[in-house]
């Protein structure tokens, strides 16, 4: 385990994870809404704004707790972090 990685069991981990889940959930909702309302400009603006906020929060989260996505959508430190941080059903 990389020494700079923070533990996946403290309150800060769960708080940050839920913040990310909340942003991502709002994006899911807006995404499905826009699938049937493709001309709602306000919703598109909100979607793009939240996508930006989501990216910043995910970057911060991953620096503390390791990669969220596979196949090159997240970076890794040494040793290979993907297999070394807990899975969603373990935390």
């Amino acid at each position: 385990m990389n020494e700079v990685m923070k533990p996946h069991c403290d309150q800060e981990f769960y708080d940050l994870l839920e913040k990310l889940q909340a942003l991502d959930f709002t994006l899911v909702e807006l995404n499905l809404y826009l699938d049937t309302h493709p001309e709602d400009l306000n919703a598109i603006k909100q979607f793009n704004q939240l996508a930006l906020e989501r990216r910043n929060l995910a970057d911060h989260f991953q620096k503390l707790y390791g990669p969220l996505q596979n196949f090159g959508h997240s970076f890794s430190r040494y040793p290979w972090e993907w297999v070394n941080v807990p899975w969603p059903w373990q935390v």
């Binding site: 909340a22 709002t26 909702e29 809404y33 919703a43």
Partner: protein, 96 residues
């Protein structure tokens, strides 16, 4: 908190979009009770009638929950929120 109260508490003009928000999310009916039923009767049965049944097409610019509230409610829009309570421990729920 930037959202409207539960749909059934709203008047028609309370939320934008001109959708009918005067509805209840639960309906009841009284099932037939026979003279020789072996068990004590359930006098009233209920079933869910959630908001999607009353909104043909979602109007734009409905009031929203904050992201944190949206996650906890399972939807971004209060007008589409549907509460459900477990029947566990509630017994036969006969009409008093």
């Amino acid at each position: 908190m930037n959202y409207c109260p539960r749909p059934q508490q709203l008047s028609k003009s309370a939320c934008k979009g001109g959708i009918d928000l005067n509805f209840t999310q639960e309906k009841t009916y009284t099932p037939f009770i026979g003279p020789f039923d072996p068990c004590p009767p359930i006098l009233t049965k209920t079933f869910s009638t959630p908001p999607q049944l009353y909104m043909r097409f979602q109007p734009p610019n409905l009031p929203q929950f904050s992201p944190q509230e949206a996650l906890r409610h399972g939807t971004l829009w209060p007008a589409l929120y549907s509460p459900y309570e477990s029947r566990w421990g509630k017994g036969r729920q006969t009409n008093e």
